[in-house]
Symmetry: C2
Subunit: 341 residues, 2 copies
C-alpha cells in the first residue's frame, strides 16, 4: 500500500535531511520500485556476481556551501562514498564521478573540486573509472552537484546490522558536530570556522586496520554518521535489530568549541551530519581493545565508547544525562539543520 500521506504532497526540504521524512521518502521510493529494487538499506548493497561479493553504493552531493575552509564538495563526495563501502567491511576500489555544473561557475572552481577528488581518491587508494558532465542553466543548480558511485570487494564476510546483539558496546571513531558547525559557520559567517574544521576524511584505512587487528572479529557492524547524525543511525539500528541503543551523554566526544557553537545555535550535536565519524557496534568484552586500536590511527585519536545495546521491547534510543536521568531520544521529524552533505 502506497504511503498516501506522501503522494498527495509536495517535496519539502525536510525530505532530504536524514530524519523521519527522509526515511519515509526512501521507503516510498523502494516501494514504488517494487521487485526491481533489491537494495538492503545498509550503507552499501552487496551483490555476488563472480564468486567474490561486491559492495555497491551511490550518493549525490549537494553540499551548501560547496567550498569550505578545509575542503570542498569533491572531498566530501569521495570520502562519503569510500566510507559507505568501508563500513560494510569492503575494500573500496572503483568510483564513478557524475558532475552537474551550473552555467556561470568559474572553471577554476570546478578545477579545485577535481583536485580535491583526485587527492581524496589517492589517499583512499581508489580509482575513478567512469565520469559524466552535464551543464544546466543559471538557477537550475547551486554551482555544482556531484554523484559518486562506489564499488568495493569483500576479502572477509560483510559486516551487517543484523549481527548486532544485546550487550554490544557502541563506539564512535571521532568527535561529532565538527563538519556541521564548520559549514554552518562558513555559510552564515559565524566566526567558528577557524577553530572548528570539518572532519571529512576517508576512513577505509582506519576500518581496515581495525578489522586486521586481534579485535577485528569482535566488530559486528559499523555505520557512517552522516545526514541525520547519531540520532538517525541509532534509530535505524533500533528498527533493524529490535534492540535499544543506550548512550551515556557525557561519553560523547564533542570538542569544546563545537559544544559552544551548538549551544549558541540551539543545535543538538547528536543530530549533526559528520563526514569522518563512524559508529561501531562491538562485542562488549572487546570494546576496550577496539578503542585502543582506533586511537592509534590518525583518524581515530578521539575515539570513545559511548554506550551499550540493551534488550528492550520498545526499541527506543535512550541517553543517560550527566545528572543520572534517562531520556528517550525521539527520531527527528525533519531537520533542525540545512543540507550539509
Amino acid at each position: 500500500m502506497l504511503n498516501t500521506t506522501i503522494v498527495d504532497q509536495e517535496i519539502v526540504l525536510d525530505h532530504g535531511t536524514g530524519a523521519r521524512l527522509s526515511r519515509e521518502l526512501v521507503e516510498f521510493t523502494a516501494e514504488l520500485l517494487g521487485d526491481v529494487y533489491v537494495g538492503e538499506m545498509e550503507d552499501s548493497a552487496i551483490v555476488r556476481e563472480t564468486g567474490e561479493a561486491l559492495a555497491i553504493t551511490t550518493d549525490s552531493f549537494v553540499v551548501d556551501p560547496p567550498f569550505f575552509g578545509n575542503g570542498d564538495i569533491g572531498r566530501v563526495a569521495v570520502c562519503g562514498t569510500v566510507n559507505d563501502l568501508a563500513v560494510l567491511g569492503a575494500e573500496p576500489r572503483y568510483l564513478t564521478l557524475g558532475v552537474i555544473l551550473e552555467t556561470g561557475l568559474p572553471v577554476a572552481r570546478y578545477a579545485a573540486v577535481l583536485r580535491s577528488v583526485r587527492d581524496a581518491a589517492r589517499e583512499a587508494g581508489v580509482v575513478i573509472v567512469a565520469g559524466d558532465t552535464k551543464v544546466v542553466r543559471p538557477g537550475e543548480a547551486d554551482q555544482i552537484y556531484l554523484n559518486t558511485t562506489g564499488i568495493g570487494v569483500f576479502r572477509r564476510p560483510p559486516l551487517r546490522m543484523a549481527h548486532v546483539t544485546a550487550g554490544d558496546g557502541i563506539l564512535l571513531t571521532g568527535p561529532i558536530g565538527n563538519h556541521t558547525v564548520h559549514l554552518l559557520s562558513v555559510r552564515e559567517g559565524l566566526g567558528f570556522e577557524r577553530d572548528v574544521l570539518s572532519d571529512c576524511a576517508p576512513l577505509n584505512g582506519l576500518v581496515a586496520s581495525l578489522l586486521r587487528s586481534p579485535f577485528g572479529h569482535a566488530v559486528h557492524s559499523i555505520r557512517d554518521v552522516t545526514r541525520g547524525g547519531l540520532t538517525a543511525v541509532l534509530h535505524e539500528y533500533a528498527r533493524a535489530t529490535g534492540l535499544a541503543p543506550h548512550l551515556v551523554e557525557e561519553a560523547l566526544p564533542i570538542e569544546r568549541p563545537v559544544r559552544m557553537a551548538c549551544d549558541m545555535l540551539g543545535i543538538n550535536p547528536m543530530n549533526t551530519a559528520n563526514e569522518g565519524c563512524l559508529c561501531l557496534f562491538v562485542e562488549q568484552s572487546a570494546a576496550d581493545g577496539v578503542l585502543d586500536v582506533l586511537r592509534r590511527h590518525p583518524y581515530g585519536r578521539q575515539a570513545a565508547i559511548v554506550g551499550t545495546v540493551v534488550e528492550a521491547d520498545d526499541r527506543e534510543v535512550r541517553v543517560t544525562r550527566p545528572d543520572g536521568r534517562v531520556d528517550a531520544i525521539d527520531e527527528l521529524h525533519g531537520a533542525e539543520l540545512p543540507r550539509l552533505c
Copy 2:
C-alpha cells in the same frame, strides 16, 4: 599541460552539449584527475576484479522537459545507462539510482518517474541495488535530476573502438532525430509531439540477439548515438582510430515528419540526441546479414546501412550528398540544440 583557454573561463551551456566544448571539458576533467582516472573514454569502463570483467558506466540526467509524451526522465536514465553497457557487449545487471529533487515538486510526479524507472528496469532485466535521495531549495534544480550508474558483466570479449578497421560498414539500428524533435516540440509547443515520439528504449536485447547471431563475430564496435548526435559519434571514432567515416546522406533513416520538423527548426538530424539508436561498425561482408538480424528485432525495424569507414590521413568525417557532392562534416563547437538528455 592544463588547457588554459578553459581554466580562466566560466562554464557555459555549450560545455554540456556533446560537441567540441563538451569534449574539451571532459578532457580537462580527465587531465585534472590525473593518475586516479583510469577511464577509457568509451561508453563504459572495463574493470577486471575477480576473473570476469565488469563494465561500469555513469550518467547524470537533467532532461528538459523531464516529462514528455511517451516517457520521462526515469525511462531515459535507465535506457541510457543500459545502452552504454550493452554497446560494449556487456550484459547489464545492476543499476544505482541517485535522485535530486527540487522543493515543491509534487510527490505524484516523483512517483511517476519511479514507475518509469521500474518499468524500464524490468524491460531491460536489470535490478536497482542502491539509491540515494537529496532535496534542494526552489531554484536549485529543474524539478528532478537523476544519476544512474550501471554495472554489467562480460560473457564475451568487450567490443572496442580500436577494433574498427578500414572497410567496415556503418549501420544505424533506427531512425535519428525522433527524441530531439519530440522533446523540443513538447517544450516549445510546436505541435509535432503527437506524430513524432521519443525513441527511448533499452537496447540490450537487440544487441544480445545480434551478438548471438551468426553475424555476431563481425561486429567490431557499437556506440550509443546520444548527446552530440551521429556527428559527435563519428568524430570520436575518427579521432580514436585514425580512420575516416564516410556516410551516404540518402541512406540515413529519418522519418518524414522528423525531417520536416528539422527543416522548419533549422536543425541537422545528424546532430540530434537519440535515446534508442545505436551506431554499429561491422565487417563489410557481414553488413547485410547484420542488417537482417537487426530488422527482425522490434527496436531495429528501421535499421539501415549508412556508410563505410575508409582510410584517409585527415581523419575527416565525410558525407555524400544526394547530388553526388562530398562534404566534410565538421565537429560542432557547441550545440545547435538545448539539453535533451
